[in-house]
C-alpha cells in the first residue's frame, strides 16, 4: 500500500512536526510555525470528500492502530473498505495546498544559515547550524500556548546532527567531536559539557537509552548510558501524552567499539558501505548492494553484540550498475525511510516503496511520537510533503534473490 501524501508549496530547508504544530525553516532564514489543524482545515476545504481519511491519516494516525482502532477495524469488512479508500486516495489524488505566510507565526530569523539539523524536545527547539547550536524555548510561560523565546546560542561550532531524550541533548559536531548537555539546571537552559566524549561524530542514533555514535557512515561506537527511574512526572515532560520515565545520569559510562560489536555477526566490517540503527537492531548497506538487518543482543549490557543471523531486506537493485548508497536514514514502525541522492524509499513490512522521485533537502520521521509515528516529512527546494504510512500489516513477501529480477515486488 502506498503512502497518502500531501504537499505544501513553500521554499523551505527544513520542516518538523511537534506538539500539534508544523515548524518550518524558510529558505530566507525565517523560523515559522502553525497549528497542524489549520493546515488540515485548508486541505479539507480543497478535498472535502476525503475529510475523515485526511484527518485520520495526518492528525490522528494512531486511531487506526491503537487497540480501539484495531478492534473496530477487525469487524466485518470495515478494514477492506478503509483499504479501498486508502488505495483510491493514493492513486487518484495529489493533495496539495499553497503556502500562505498569513497562516504562520514568525518566531525570528535564524542567526546562522543554513540550519543543518533541528530537534524539538521538551517544548524546546534546537537548531544546529553552520556556526553553532541555538535553543528556543517554545513555552517559557509554562502553559500550553506556544510563545517562543528568541534563539540563544548555546554551543559554538558547526553542528551536523542532533538528538534528544531523557533530559539529554546529543550534539554531533563532525571533527570537533560528540558533545552532550542538559537543560535540567537552575537556568533552565541547555548547558553543553565542553569536553567532547568522542573525537568525531557525523550523526547518532538511540538504542533505547544508549547512543550509537557514527564517526563515519560505515563506522560507529556504542555508548552505554546510566539511567535512573523518574518517580514523578518530570516538569519538562508534563505536556507529553506519554511522559518520560527515565533520566540519563551518566553519558557513555561504558563504550563498545565496532569490531567488538560485530565480532559474532556474519558481516565483515570492510564490506559495510552505510549503516544505521533502530532501538534493537542494526541496518547495513553493503558495498555489493545488499541491505541487511541484524539484531543487537542487549540482554546483558556487559556483553553487547550483533547476532550471527543476517536478515536480507528488499533493495532497489542488488547490482552495482545502479548506485544506491544512502544519503540519510530514518526509523519508522516496522521499517525505515532511506533518502538516496535522487529519491526517497520507504522500506516497510518487507517491501521497498519509492515515495519521492526527486532530490530532497531533508527527511524526517517521528518514531517516538504517539500521533505522528506513521508520518514522514520531506523538505524539497519548492515544497514540503507529508506522507502517512498505511499502518496495518501487509502480508510480507518472502524474498529470494530471484525476486530481484522482477520489478513487481516494488511498489513505485
Amino acid at each position: 500500500m502506498k503512502t497518502i501524501k500531501f504537499s505544501i508549496k513553500v521554499k523551505a530547508i527544513d520542516s518538523y512536526i511537534y506538539g500539534g504544530h508544523l515548524f518550518l525553516i524558510l529558505q530566507d532564514g525565517r523560523i515559522v510555525f502553525t497549528e497542524i489543524s489549520k493546515v488540515i482545515r485548508k486541505l479539507v476545504i480543497e478535498y472535502p470528500l476525503f475529510e475523515n481519511l485526511i484527518r485520520l491519516s495526518f492528525q490522528r494516525n494512531d486511531y487506526l492502530s491503537n487497540r480501539q482502532g484495531l478492534m473496530i477495524l477487525g469487524v466485518g469488512e470495515l478494514k477492506n473498505v478503509l483499504m479501498k479508500l486508502w488505495d483510491r486516495a493514493t492513486n487518484e489524488i495529489e493533495f496539495s495546498i499553497d503556502f500562505d505566510l498569513d497562516d504562520f507565526e514568525v518566531i525570528d530569523n535564524i542567526p546562522s544559515m543554513p540550519v543543518l539539523d533541528m530537534r524539538m524536545y521538551a517544548m524546546r527547539m534546537y537548531l544546529g547550524c553552520k556556526e553553532g547550536l541555538y535553543e528556543i524555548n517554545l513555552n517559557p510561560q509554562d502553559n500550553y500556548h506556544i510563545k517562543p523565546s528568541k534563539p540563544e546560542l548555546c554551543f559554538g561550532g558547526k553542528v551536523t546532527h542532533l538528538n534528544a531524550k531523557s533530559g539529554e541533548v546529543v550534539i554531533s559536531a563532525n571533527s570537533e567531536g560528540l558533545f552532550h548537555g542538559s537543560f535540567l539546571n537552575n537556568k533552565n537552559k541547555l548547558k553543553v559539557i565542553e569536553k567532547p566524549v568522542a573525537k568525531k561524530s557525523i550523526r547518532t542514533g538511540w538504542s533505547s537509552y544508549d547512543v550509537i555514535n557514527y564517526e563515519e557512515h560505515n563506522s560507529f561506537e556504542y555508548f552505554v548510558n546510566e539511567t535512573t527511574n523518574i518517580d514523578s512526572k518530570p516538569k519538562y515532560s508534563k505536556f507529553d501524552e506519554q511522559p518520560e520515565r527515565r533520566r540519563i545520569t551518566e553519558f557513555g559510562k561504558e563504550k563498545f567499539g565496532m569490531a567488538q560489536l560485530m565480532e559474532n555477526s556474519n558481516l565483515k566490517i570492510e564490506d559495510i558501505a552505510y549503516c544505521f540503527n533502530s532501538s534493537t537492531s542494526g541496518f547495513f548497506f553493503t558495498k555489493d548492494g545488499q541491505f541487511i538487518n541484524i539484531n543487537l543482543n542487549k540482554e546483558n549490557k556487559q556483553d553487547l553484540y550483533f547476532t550471527s543471523r543476517n536478515r536480507q531486506l528488499p533493495n532497489l537493485d542488488n547490482t552495482k550498475k545502479h548506485f544506491t548508497r544512502p544519503v540519510s536514514s530514518s526509523i519508522v514502525p516496522k521499517g525505515c525511510v532511506i533518502e538516496y541522492f535522487e529519491k526517497v524509499v520507504l522500506y516497510h513490512n518487507g517491501k521497498a516503496k519509492i515515495i519521492e522521485t526527486s532530490p530532497s533537502i531533508n527527511v524526517r520521521t517521528y518514531p517516538s511520537s504517539i500521533r505522528y509515528k506513521n508520518l514522514i516529512t520531506i523538505t524539497k527546494e519548492q515544497e514540503i510533503s507529508i506522507h502517512s504510512i498505511y499502518p496495518f500489516d501487509e502480508t510480507p513477501i518472502k524474498l529470494t534473490f530471484d525476486d530481484f529480477d522482477f520489478e513487481n515486488i516494488f511498489d513505485e
Binding site: 529558505q27 557525523i202 544506491t324 533537502i361
Partner: protein
C-alpha cells in the same frame, strides 16, 4: 598524458599523476577508494579544482565536484574527490574519491561553491552535514 604518465599541466602549472591503487581496475583494498572515472577524466576533475583554486586549508588539499554532485566519481558512490597538496611543490598531484562524512571540507570552501553557483542550497547543506 606525457611519457612520464603525467597529465597536464593546468594553467596553474600543476601536473596530475593517477595512482594505480585508486584506479577503477585496482584490486580491492579496504583502505583505498577507487575511481569510476578514467584517468583522463580524473585529470579533468583535478584541473577544474586546481584552476578554480578549490583549496581546503583544513585538509591541505584541493576538493572537486562536478555538475552539482550529479557526477559519481567513486565506486562507493562518492561525488567528491580530494587531491592532497604534494609535499614538494614540483611533484605531481594525485587524488581519489571521498565523501564529506569522512573528509570534512572547510566551511569557507563549501560557502565559496555556493556563492559561485557550483552547488545549490541542497548540496551546500548535504556537504556541510557530511551526507554526500
Amino acid at each position: 598524458m606525457n611519457s612520464d604518465g603525467l597529465f597536464g599541466p593546468t594553467s596553474e602549472k600543476h601536473y596530475y599523476l593517477p595512482v594505480t591503487y585508486h584506479n577503477k581496475t585496482a584490486t580491492v583494498n579496504k583502505h583505498k577508494t577507487t575511481w569510476v572515472l578514467r584517468q583522463n577524466e580524473q585529470y579533468e576533475v583535478f584541473k577544474v579544482s586546481d584552476e578554480n583554486k578549490w583549496f581546503c586549508k583544513n585538509r591541505n588539499g584541493l576538493f572537486s565536484i562536478l555538475d552539482n554532485g550529479e557526477v559519481v566519481m567513486g565506486s562507493n558512490e562518492e561525488r567528491l574527490s580530494f587531491f592532497p597538496k604534494p609535499a614538494n611543490t614540483n611533484d605531481p598531484y594525485h587524488g581519489y574519491p571521498v565523501d564529506s562524512g569522512e573528509y570534512e571540507l572547510s566551511t569557507e570552501l563549501v560557502d565559496k561553491w555556493l556563492e559561485e553557483e557550483i552547488i545549490d542550497t541542497r548540496l551546500h547543506i548535504k556537504i556541510l552535514k557530511g551526507q554526500i
